[in-house]
């Protein structure tokens, strides 16, 4: 069954349909986009249903693409990809629904761009050929660049150019690394890269090349300055896509590229990566606490959460030998749950704020007060999203952070002690956000006129909250799905290549 290709090109078909309908009425555009988005959810369900828990790749397809160069159209899904692909389909559908409810113009182009981002992201998640992955990785920049630029805030041109340039800079080094490996291996297949013996200096070079690209995408601490600008200028659906899907490309890249291909370099550079992650967790959380622009606040919170993800990935190299068996899987399982959970909760936070922004027209924290009295439904759901971001038990945000913290405690006491600060600091900025926006007296006249959420918006909020709580209570679903793939990754991550 060509389910992989179907999942991949569904987005392209959706984009094409949306472009062709640019002259139809708005209702037809919205309806077809929603139907296609729902088809995407059905596809995700088919993938889930047909998935066996095995260690290897399923739904594999391999066709020659540029055989002279050794590049093949090679797709394959394992547990890690499946989780992220399903997340992509869900978020894409939610973005389309958001655009239908909240945004007012340029519908066909927006739908085309959302479908484009979906297609390229899924392509990156399921590509098993390094050049194919690179093509999708770079190509996902284009629709996002256009989306932020066309439907964004006042500083959108600067923000979107910064996003594109910064990410492309990292990707160029990634390209060099991939080309070098392809020369050594004779082919671009990821499986061949995994089996390729490399000396330590080669591994170092490739590790640094890959890490630069993923660190910019994720983003990791010194390379994060594009994210607050991009998020604050993007529209609601754009922020949702960016935070929930595109950031995960970085995490996925670490799991798929760094760990299997250059494990010795990962071992050697793990302390550096752990330190950078801790800086991201603590320092960025401190920065988040003083933000006055709500979208920038949520953006910095995302950076802090991604710091947790990289901590989970690289602290496993700090585990002592006796604790390896018990805790290494826990760490990576926490990474997967955290990525999916952060996808849902940050999408929710951006979505909820998008609803507020549509009514109040301001991104400044100071312009909001007492919204709970006017929009109680939104407040309820927003609270759930923020609790997940904080890492409150009962929500999925807790599960991921808890696993990662458990693993880092087994690795190194001080690492865990620093990382645990996230629980405190995120509570500070999360509750500050809630207090300013929702509690207090209704100060501004505009707030009195704000209507509470309507049907479409309620559906969106309920869907996300249900997902957050369901995964928070039954994280087993995600863990079981990704377990074999993570165990295979762990085996690959501990190979000594030279």
């Amino acid at each position: 069954m060509y389910l992989s290709s179907l999942a991949l090109w569904h987005g392209a078909v959706g984009a094409g349909v949306a472009v062709l309908q640019s002259r139809s009425s708005v209702w037809i555009q919205k309806l077809t986009a929603l139907v296609l988005g729902f088809l995407g959810l059905v596809l995700a369900g088919c993938l889930w249903y047909g998935f066996d828990q095995r260690m290897d790749y399923q739904f594999e397809e391999r066709l020659p693409w540029l055989p002279d160069l050794g590049i093949h159209y090679h797709l394959g899904i394992d547990g890690v990809s499946l989780g992220l692909v399903m997340l992509t389909f869900v978020i894409a559908f939610l973005s389309i629904l958001t655009v239908c409810c909240l945004e007012g113009k340029l519908f066909s182009q927006t739908f085309a761009l959302i479908f484009g981002v979906q297609a390229m992201s899924i392509g990156a998640f399921i590509a098993l050929d390094a050049m194919l992955f690179y093509v999708f990785w770079e190509a996902s920049l284009l629709p996002m660049f256009m989306y932020i630029g066309m439907c964004g805030g006042r500083e959108r041109r600067h923000a979107t150019k910064k996003y594109f340039l910064y990410t492309m800079f990292g990707s160029l080094f990634f390209l060099i690394g991939v080309l070098y490996l392809a020369f050594q291996a004779g082919t671009f297949s990821l499986l061949a890269f995994r089996d390729l013996p490399l000396s330590f200096s080669e591994q170092s070079f490739v590790f640094l090349a890959f890490t630069l690209a993923f660190a910019i995408k994720l983003p990791m601490f010194p390379f994060h300055s594009w994210l607050p600008d991009a998020h604050s200028q993007a529209s609601t659906a754009g922020s949702m896509l960016l935070a929930a899907v595109l950031l995960k490309l970085g995490g996925y890249g670490f799991l798929r590229f760094n760990l299997p291909i250059v494990p010795d370099a990962c071992q050697a550079y793990a302390p550096l990566m752990v330190v950078l992650s801790l800086v991201a967790i603590v320092y960025i959380a401190l920065v988040t606490m003083v933000q006055t622009d709500v979208k920038r606040l949520i953006a910095y919170a995302s950076i802090s959460h991604m710091g947790m993800v990289t901590l989970g990935i690289f602290a496993l190299y700090l585990l002592p030998q006796h604790a390896m068996d018990t805790y290494q899987f826990l760490g990576l399982a926490g990474v997967m749950v955290h990525m999916i959970g952060h996808g849902l909760s940050s999408a929710g936070m951006f979505l909820g704020f998008g609803m507020l922004y549509a009514r109040m027209g301001s991104r400044q924290l100071a312009d909001y007060s007492g919204m709970m009295r006017v929009m109680p439904t939104l407040s309820l759901f927003y609270m759930i999203f923020v609790l997940s971001a904080i890492g409150f038990p009962g929500t999925v945000g807790f599960v991921g952070e808890f696993f990662i913290l458990l693993m880092s405690m087994a690795a190194n006491f001080w690492v865990a002690a620093t990382a645990v600060l996230t629980m405190l600091l995120s509570a500070v900025y999360g509750l500050r956000l809630i207090r300013h926006i929702f509690y207090g007296r209704v100060m501004h006249d505009q707030a009195h006129c704000a209507l509470d959420v309507m049907l479409g918006e309620k559906l969106l909020l309920m869907f996300l909250s249900a997902g957050i709580i369901a995964l928070g209570v039954f994280p087993e679903v995600v863990v079981r799905m990704t377990a074999p793939a993570l165990q295979r990754t762990l085996l690959e991550a501990q190979v000594q290549k030279f």
């Binding site: 693409w65 540029l66 002279d68 999708f136 284009l142 630029g149 150019k161 060099i176």
Partner: protein
């Protein structure tokens, strides 16, 4: 002789065109159709040309036809045809311009290009180069009343003459050493174990080191002459003014196909390895290439006028090609030819689309004129988007694979640092390509400015086709990439 039917047909076409006017036949209205008919016939003929045809006169081989020659000829014909088709509209808008002579100039340029890519003899190469360049000088000076065009043409002629002079000097030195004008046998000549003299042995007898030095100096002069013609830094001073002065279709004609031709000349001249030309020669060309890339992109970043921006960006792209050519490897040559062909097509299309637009009755000159293009002319804006991203080298457009080919050639020759160094300027290029896209899509047009498209349905569908091609070739690049592998 039958192998050169294509050139014979082209020459006859030019003659016919030139005698049409005195006979009073109407060619002023849409004379371009005649030109394109001739080109089309040539294209069809050239597909059936027998490979390995050789033109020899008194035991000296002048022209050789190889397998890939006809593919490049097709490419050149296509680029020139596009330029001519859009030139026609521009000529209709200008008064006091006789289109017959201008079209014959374009055909002469094409003929010259054909002869250049088939030359294996120094003399025939120089003569063909002049045949190719003289019409280009005249085309730049199309508008007699435009002072800028005249100045540009003067600079072009001077630079062209200078570069040909330098080239000839190098040729003369090489001839002094080798005694033969044919450059297929360089390798033998350069690795010779005995000195060779073509005149009286008592008068001119060279020792081996002297011969090798002369050969190296001659090769250096030839290199510099070619670099001048390619327009890379630090021999680029004519490029900006010429691009600025000429009208858009003429810029398309002089900025697209000639670059392919010069790259092919380079490959023919420097095929194989020489004892006289060692690593240091390659490093000179690498330095020129890298410097050209950085310089070109950085200068383009500062430009406000579109043609100047494209001129500096052509510097940078050709610098990248130079790096590939300096490798003197099969991969390097192949990737350089692909790159110049792909770049040539894209750039020709960009120039003609800019030339087919008018804003408030004048040409589109400034970057600012592009503001809001996506609202007025969505398909043109989409084409420009595809073309600019293809030039930048972002997947999923075709330009990405062209860049990957060159990088592969670099990595195969183990120049890792050079590969990284030559990729970084892409980020600088993104600065101005993104600015153009941002102006088109993220800005609204200035109030009162109206951007109109001067062209019919055929013109518009060409751009739609071109953008579809750029994406389709990016998804299935093998169609083109496997066609040129010998």
């Amino acid at each position: 002789m039958s192998g050169f039917l294509c050139e014979i047909v082209l020459s006859l076409g030019i003659l016919l065109l030139l005698i049409m006017k005195p006979f009073g036949l109407r060619t002023s209205v849409h004379g371009c159709y005649y030109v394109m008919l001739v080109m089309g016939i040539c294209a069809v003929i050239s597909c059936y040309a027998p490979v390995g045809t050789v033109l020899q006169v008194s035991a000296q081989t002048f022209f050789v036809m190889e397998k890939w020659t006809y593919v490049v000829k097709l490419g050149i014909l296509l680029m020139s045809a596009v330029g001519v088709y859009f030139l026609d509209d521009v000529l209709l808008r200008m008064q006091n311009v006789s289109s017959v002579e201008i079209f014959s100039l374009v055909l002469l340029q094409t003929l010259g290009m054909f002869f250049v890519i088939m030359s294996v003899h120094w003399i025939s190469l120089v003569v063909s180069l002049e045949l190719m360049y003289l019409p280009m000088y005249a085309l730049v000076a199309l508008k007699a009343s435009d002072k800028r065009a005249q100045e540009a043409a003067c600079k072009y002629i001077l630079m062209g003459a200078l570069s040909t002079g330098i080239f000839l000097y190098g040729v003369s030195l090489i001839y002094a050493v080798t005694g033969d004008f044919n450059f297929v046998n360089w390798r033998e000549m350069a690795s010779m174990t005995h000195a060779y003299a073509h005149t009286d042995p008592e008068v001119l007898w060279l020792t081996l080191p002297q011969a090798q030095t002369l050969l190296a100096v001659g090769a250096l002069f030839v290199t510099v002459g070619l670099l001048f013609k390619m327009g890379v830094a630090p021999f680029h001073w004519w490029v900006r003014d010429v691009y600025e002065g000429a009208t858009y279709p003429v810029v398309a004609l002089i900025g697209g196909a000639p670059k392919v031709v010069i790259a092919l000349v380079w490959i023919r001249v420097f095929m194989g390895e020489y004892a006289a030309l060692d690593e240091s020669w390659a490093w000179i060309v690498f330095a020129v290439g890298v410097g050209s890339m950085y310089f070109g992109h950085m200068m383009a970043l500062a430009q406000e006028r579109i043609r100047a921006l494209m001129a500096y960006s052509s510097l940078a792209h050709m610098g990248f090609v130079m790096i590939a050519l300096a490798l003197i490897s099969q991969w390097g040559n192949q990737s350089a030819v692909f790159y110049t062909l792909g770049y040539g097509f894209t750039v020709v299309s960009v120039f003609v689309v800019l030339g087919a637009m008018q804003i408030d009755g004048r040409d589109v000159l400034l970057m600012e004129d592009l503001k809001g293009l996506s609202k007025h002319q969505p398909w043109l804006a989409f084409f420009l988007l595809c073309a600019l991203f293809s030039l930048l080298g972002v997947p999923p457009f075709f330009g990405f694979f062209l860049k990957v080919q060159v990088l592969r050639a670099l990595l195969q020759a183990k120049y890792y640092v050079l590969a990284v160094v030559s990729l970084i300027p892409m980020v600088i290029a993104a600065g101005y390509y993104l600015r153009a896209v941002s102006l088109m899509y993220f800005h609204d047009a200035e109030t009162g400015q109206v951007l109109t498209f001067v062209g019919g349905r055929v013109h518009r569908s060409y751009f739609v086709l071109a953008s579809v091609l750029l994406i389709a070739l990016g998804v299935f690049p093998n169609i083109i990439l496997s066609a040129l592998i010998p």
